[in-house]
């Protein structure tokens, strides 16, 4: 059982699992070349900037969703959490302009509360996550409408620090883009270097084994929802700071786009594997596709069709890769046994 002299298939397995992120990156490059040939306006600095700005928020939401998906759960409520935290959070900001940037915590904590409620339903009440978050998707959206009562928030009424944060620049780079990048990096580091991060992967990988290791699955999946909600609340703030009017029907369908990004980024819907960098790249890829299609003049319906197709294709790819990996691993096990 010498794993030091790894035979070819070992390295292949490793490369296939690790190479998922590179696969998405390669797909993104091809996509850019394709759109670049089709539209003269695509491969420009200003358009790249637009994509990065549009993609940054999706990166944050996709990282949030990814953490939940790794634990074998789903969060279908992220779009509604963005709307609720955005509207209520920015309304608080509008009412207390003198409080200053500390109030960024308002939308973030609203997101945390939503995550806690999702976590309560899934981890404590043990409801299936798809059904529970399908319900909270409507609940949170409904709360946003109830709170708004037909009104909308004009960004002109918000204190100037909001626009300065969301639209600002640090060292010549957009603060929004830097933030999206920072969150992806922090999430990746946290998942790798914090105990809870490894435990998130562990309960997704084999929930039955958890008690043998003293892991409390319900606690860990609750925390995953908490992190997801918090990040989504932050995304709500960013989202609200960028739109022309903050309305309760903001970010409709974002849960689907976020899931598409996660799946495209190579995170297994069966839990336990994938990296948030993949999810972040998946988000950028989707932002790129959206941008390219708009430049090409494709309609909203065509874009919907393409998102759906991406999800299905990504899951098929995933299944093919997983199957291949299983075959290689089985071959390795038999070789070890025969040795």
């Amino acid at each position: 059982m010498s794993a030091t002299a790894a035979p070819r298939s070992d390295r292949l397995v490793f490369a296939m699992l690790q190479g998922r992120v590179f696969g998405v990156a390669a797909f993104l490059v091809l996509l850019c070349l394709g759109f670049g040939t089709a539209s003269r306006n695509f491969l420009t600095v200003s358009n790249a900037n637009t994509i990065a700005l549009n993609g940054a928020i999706l990166v944050v939401v996709a990282c949030a969703e990814a953490i939940v998906v790794i634990t074998r759960n789903y969060d279908l409520s992220v779009g509604s959490v963005v709307a609720l935290s955005s509207y209520v959070g920015l309304d608080v900001v509008r009412r207390y302009p003198e409080a200053g940037p500390i109030l960024i915590l308002a939308p973030v904590l609203i997101g945390t509360a939503c995550g806690a409620f999702n976590g309560f339903l899934v981890a404590v009440c043990r409801l299936p996550s798809v059904i529970a978050t399908l319900g909270t998707m409507s609940i949170f959206r409904g709360l946003a409408f109830l709170y708004a009562g037909g009104h909308q928030i004009d960004p002109k009424d918000l204190p100037p620090w909001v626009a300065a944060t969301v639209g600002g620049h640090v060292l010549g780079l957009s603060a929004l883009v830097l933030l999206g990048f920072a969150i992806a990096v922090l999430a990746a580091l946290g998942l790798r270097y914090l105990s809870v991060g490894r435990e998130i992967y562990a309960i997704g990988s084999n929930p039955d084994a958890a008690p043998f290791y003293g892991l409390r699955s319900e606690r860990i999946s609750f925390r995953a929802y908490l992190i997801c909600g918090t990040l989504t609340g932050l995304a709500g703030f960013l989202f609200g700071g960028r739109v022309s009017y903050v309305v309760p029907y903001l970010a409709q369908g974002l849960e689907l786009t976020a899931l598409a990004a996660v799946v495209l980024g190579g995170i297994s819907v069966l839990g336990g594997s994938g990296s948030v960098f993949g999810a972040a790249l998946g988000a950028l890829t989707i932002a790129t596709i959206e941008n390219g299609l708009i430049l090409l003049g494709a309609s909203e319906f065509v874009r919907q069709f393409i998102y759906g197709a991406i999800i299905v294709l990504a899951v098929i790819t995933d299944a093919v890769v997983q199957q291949r990996v299983r075959v290689l691993l089985k071959a390795r096990r038999q070789r070890v046994r025969a040795a």
């Binding site: 914090l194 490894r198 008690p211 003293g214 070890v336």
Partner: protein, 503 residues
């Protein structure tokens, strides 16, 4: 024995599951720095004992002392913290994580800011693996490891937790190569010399000879004998393990000689599971298939039924060749398979008895594609009467029935298709004595009507009482064949455990 307190002292443990006695008044003392073998047939109570000692199950009665202090574990983690660990045949691991992460999961050593120092973790993992003579790469994914390698990861984990006061090993050599087995034994000796009390649960007593200090044999949940390993011969141990009595078996008439061959299997092979399996079953014959856990019996049955199609070999039913490529095809050929795991593979526990029994013959019960409820009910009523199923009626939810009655529902489901060949995988496992006798009577009745029966069982008395011929499987091969009159418990068990001349 009145020396200082033993490392592990189990006193008068008893445990029942729903009226079935799994363990009855069993005591076991294991000294620090010794290796103790726990032997017995399947169902003798070995696993129950280990599960109680490691906190997975709670004893109904009895005490447990660790180094003289009374203790009672309510979870495996609690036992582990006290230094009591079991390494199972199918270790619980996180396949997507790497070796080092699995070793330290649940107790990562963290540095400043609660961060895991991965460099330290990998170094510690390498050091641990080296102490157990494993050159596994700590960054390798566990998904790609062989069962043997995974066991070494478990050992490293036990050492990492300093869970080395008592170590239980459940059939540790069942899936190891000879080289791995040799290494495992060196590791066990090393741990013994360091003062660990090691308990090995096994059937394969011969290969444990040089390792074991003391032997305890269990039978039927009771204690039979404890003696120094040198004091017992292989034959004596086998005799202690067998000798169970099976009451209530209906005597069957011998099958008519010269009946035509129903099922003919030749050269059936599935790489990694079994090799060159061949046998015939005639109409009205019951052929028993005995083997220890992991011998490949279930794999053979599932390949025959087309669930995991074999790589090579031929199957013929009533002389017509049929390739076992899918259960659908085998069903059409007249085979039926009663799986070992009836809850997961044999039944839809949340549906009614009527729907379960009708599941195999829906097309026959339908007219113009629409199911006729009256026919379903009639079938269910017939089944309840024919198999004496104890139920509140045809609409009773299957999960509300007792184990024996659930098994009768599985049988009823297959009898509805009128099979030519019936493959039974552990048909009486975990059901009470009375229901067991009824299942035996049903099976004997089917054979009398000309069905060819393959009876897979780890229950030796059952095999002996029911079978016209016995096949013994070990290591994926048929290693011995007996006719009913020449089959004996000692002979069968000797063949199955690879003992040469114990009898």
């Amino acid at each position: 024995m009145s020396e200082p307190a033993a490392r592990l002292d189990l006193r008068h443990l008893s445990k029942s599951f729903g009226g079935i006695r799994a363990l009855h008044d069993v005591s076991l003392r294991v000294a620090a720095g010794s290796v103790h073998a726990l032997l017995g047939e399947n169902g003798a109570g070995k696993s129950t004992l280990v599960k109680i000692a490691t906190g997975l199950l709670q004893a109904d009665a009895g005490d447990m002392l660790l180094d003289g202090a009374a203790c009672r574990f309510t979870s495996p983690m609690q036992a582990r913290r006290a230094g009591v660990v079991a390494v199972y045949q199918d270790p619980k691991m996180f396949p997507h994580l790497d070796v080092a992460e699995n070793i330290f999961m649940g107790q990562y050593r963290t540095g400043p800011g609660g961060l895991i120092d991965r460099a330290v973790m990998y170094r510690a993992a390498t050091a641990l693996l080296r102490t157990i003579e494993s050159d596994l790469d700590p960054t390798a994914l566990v998904a790609g490891l062989s069962v043997g390698e995974v066991q070494f990861v478990e050992f490293a984990r036990a050492l990492a937790d300093r869970a080395d006061r008592v170590l239980f090993l459940d059939e540790p050599t069942a899936s190891l190569s000879p080289a791995e087995t040799g290494r495992l034994f060196r590791v066990i000796r090393g741990m013994r010399d360091a003062g660990t009390a090691v308990v090995i649960i096994s059937h394969r007593l011969e290969e444990l000879r040089d390792l074991v200090d003391t032997v305890t044999v269990l039978r039927d949940g009771g204690h039979v004998v404890t003696a120094p390993a040198t004091a017992l011969s292989g034959a004596e141990i086998v005799r202690a393990m067998v000798g169970r009595t099976l009451s209530l078996v209906a005597p069957r008439p011998a099958p008519t000689a010269g009946a035509e061959t129903r099922l003919a299997v030749r050269g059936l092979t599935l790489a990694g599971s079994f090799d060159d399996v061949g046998f015939d079953i005639r109409a009205g014959e019951i052929v028993g298939m005995f083997g220890l856990v992991g011998a490949g019996r279930t794999e053979i049955a599932q390949a025959l039924f087309g669930i995991t199609p074999p790589d090579a070999g031929s199957v013929a039913v009533d002389g017509r060749a049929v390739a076992p490529r899918s259960p659908r095809r085998m069903l059409a050929a007249g085979l039926a398979y009663v799986p070992e795991d009836r809850e997961k593979q044999g039944l839809v526990p949340s549906l009614s008895l009527r729907l379960n029994v009708a599941a195999t013959v829906l097309d026959r019960l339908a007219r113009w594609g629409v199911l006729r409820r009256a026919r379903e009910v009639a079938l269910a009523v017939r089944s309840i009467a024919a198999l004496a199923i104890r139920t509140n009626g045809t609409e009773a939810v299957v999960s509300s029935l007792s184990g024996g009655n659930r098994q009768k529902v599985v049988l009823a489901k297959w009898l509805a298709i009128d099979p030519k060949v019936l493959l039974l995988d552990e048909p009486t496992h975990g059901i009470d004595v009375g229901a067991k006798a009824q299942v035996h009577a049903i099976v004997a009745g089917l054979a009398a009507r000309g069905v060819a029966v393959l009876l897979i069982s780890s229950d030796l008395p059952e095999i002996l009482a029911m079978s016209d011929r016995v096949l013994v499987v070990a290591g994926g091969r048929i290693v011995a064949r007996f006719d009913a009159d020449e089959a004996s418990e000692v002979g069968i068990l000797t063949a199955a455990s690879g003992l040469r001349e114990a009898a």
